[in-house]
């Protein structure tokens, strides 16, 4: 993500077009690239979803295991979000432990899921202070053509919607697994992320890779289905407060469209 691979002429063209309310690939300012969601590809996971936004492709797998609660929330389940910028996704990704970009991605998606309270963490307790369900959300970036935040957030909530747990009862601090069909997690909310780029004085959504590397500033807003803000992350650059408020308006409009794609 650090190497500038965009020719100067393309960058100038992107800025110039934005000033006229247009995009280099012909999209409208508030238009996403085509979105495709496939669920249940990974049978070994408890839930999974692959999301493409244009050429950007993210696979998320959910695993539910048991483990220890955090000391400050002893009676709540644990959410663990991890992101891997797998080197097959881009010539600039390298093997190795998650770098700052991967950690930021995981943490912003985590905040959206956690703060929206989409999971009922209190239902995931087995034995207070000792044993709870741990929900692992593993974000696997397979093809990187920009806007990883929105694709990862969308794939994460889609994978959670796909997640099923085998029937069980909690008795005396232990899980008793019962007969029967797995049933889906009980989701309370549906947060989605909207990334807004600023260029040539204009704001637009879903920047592609060449847009991301050309624009003046980036802002990611995560919103639930009641238009409550549950996470914000400014990327590079700066915004006036008017631009921030306008971005929230754009996010409100566009989030419904993204949430539609989940159905």
């Amino acid at each position: 993500m650090s190497i500038n691979v965009i020719p100067q002429i393309t960058r100038e063209r992107i800025l110039e077009l934005a000033g006229k309310g247009r995009r280099i690939d012909g999209r409208f300012l508030y238009q996403y690239r085509p979105i495709r969601i496939e669920r249940g590809l990974i049978k070994k996971a408890d839930g999974s979803a692959q999301v493409s936004i244009g050429s950007t492709k993210v696979l998320v797998g959910v695993k539910i295991e048991t483990g220890e609660p955090f000391p400050d929330t002893p009676d709540q389940g644990v959410l663990m979000v991890n992101a891997e910028l797998v080197p097959l996704a881009s010539p600039v990704f390298e093997p190795g432990p998650p770098n700052e970009d991967a950690l930021e991605l995981a943490r912003v998606v985590d905040r959206g899921l956690r703060e929206s309270k989409c999971l009922r963490f209190e239902d995931l307790c087995i034995n207070p202070g000792r044993k709870v369900f741990v929900v692992f959300v593993d974000i696997y970036v397979l093809d990187y053509d920009g806007n990883l935040f929105d694709a990862s957030a969308l794939a994460s909530i889609a994978a959670l919607m796909d997640t099923k747990m085998k029937p069980h009862r909690i008795e005396a601090g232990e899980v008793l697994w019962l007969e029967g069909e797995p049933s889906p997690l009980n989701l309370q909310h549906y947060p989605v992320s909207i990334t807004i780029a600023k260029a040539g004085g204009a704001l637009f959504v879903d920047p592609s890779l060449e847009e991301e590397q050309s624009v003046d500033a980036l802002l990611t807003i995560t919103m639930d289905e009641q238009n409550r803000l549950c996470a914000i992350q400014k990327g590079p650059g700066s915004f006036t407060s008017e631009e921030v408020f306008k971005s929230v308006q754009i996010a409100k409009e566009v989030s419904n469209y993204l949430r539609e794609s989940l159905k």
Partner: protein, 243 residues
């Protein structure tokens, strides 16, 4: 008299703030900021040569930034290895400062910014941004303006400014903001928590108000420093001064 907070402050009131410049001998620039119980120290080295060399850019300086917490800065001892949170905040702070800098002035160099949290009592990333901006000025690095930073948040259903540690840990939402003095633009913006659109508008406006107050203290600190550049000069601004 309206709502009073656990430490007696009004909802829109900053904690007492102290700032000092040039507090370190070896660094090219340094600054110390105390905001309530939060204490941070920042050093700037550079512009200097980049190692390893392939990181250098012919188009300008690169900025490297490390936000780090001392093991004794927190209630429970913190492992000194950088946590995921510290790595994220290092990036966020770098992005808060970059819009204020003229990177093209120093091609093939690096400017290294090291921010250490000596005591964490809420609002550490904002205090670091505030201190970084002063340390850059102290290092003589030209800036488009000072970057001042402050958080607003929602605690017990009330929007308030500059959360302390107790408010921070129990808060419903935390909104750290940084503000570039000359353009008034926002260079850091994060939200952690749940806010309606109206609450968000209120919190952002409040945070920006706080940033402007902090900027005034930064300016005063710089002026005092350049007029009487003695080491460890401290501009103390108590509850009165911060309004």
């Amino acid at each position: 008299m309206g709502y009073r907070r656990i430490d007696g402050r009004a909802p829109d009131e900053l904690r007492p703030i102290k700032m000092a410049l040039g507090v370190l001998d070896k660094a090219d620039g340094s600054a110390y900021v105390e905001q309530g119980g939060t204490k941070v120290l920042v050093a700037v080295y550079g512009p200097r040569e980049v190692h390893p060399r392939h990181l250098a850019s012919p188009e300008g300086s690169i900025i490297r930034c490390r936000y780090h917490m001392a093991p004794f800065s927190t209630q429970e001892r913190k492992n000194p290895a950088p946590s995921r949170r510290e790595i994220e905040l290092s990036k966020v702070i770098r992005q808060a400062l970059t819009p204020a800098m003229f990177l093209e002035l120093y091609p093939r160099t690096t400017i290294d910014i090291f921010a250490e949290v000596l005591q964490a009592d809420g609002g550490t990333r904002c205090a670091c941004v505030t201190a970084c901006s002063l340390a850059l000025a102290d290092a003589g690095i030209p800036l488009k303006g000072l970057v001042a930073s402050c958080a607003a948040g929602k605690y017990q259903d009330q929007i308030m400014l500059d959360l302390n540690d107790v408010e921070d840990k129990g808060c419903q939402a935390d909104l750290p903001v940084a503000w570039l003095s000359t353009t008034g633009e926002i260079t850091l913006l994060q939200l952690n928590g749940l806010l309606t659109e109206d609450e968000f508008r209120e919190a952002l406006s409040l945070a920006l108000k706080g940033c402007r107050q902090i900027y005034e203290i930064q300016r005063e600190t710089l002026m005092n420093y350049y007029m009487a550049p003695a080491k460890e000069l401290v501009s103390e601004v108590g509850q009165e001064g911060s309004k």
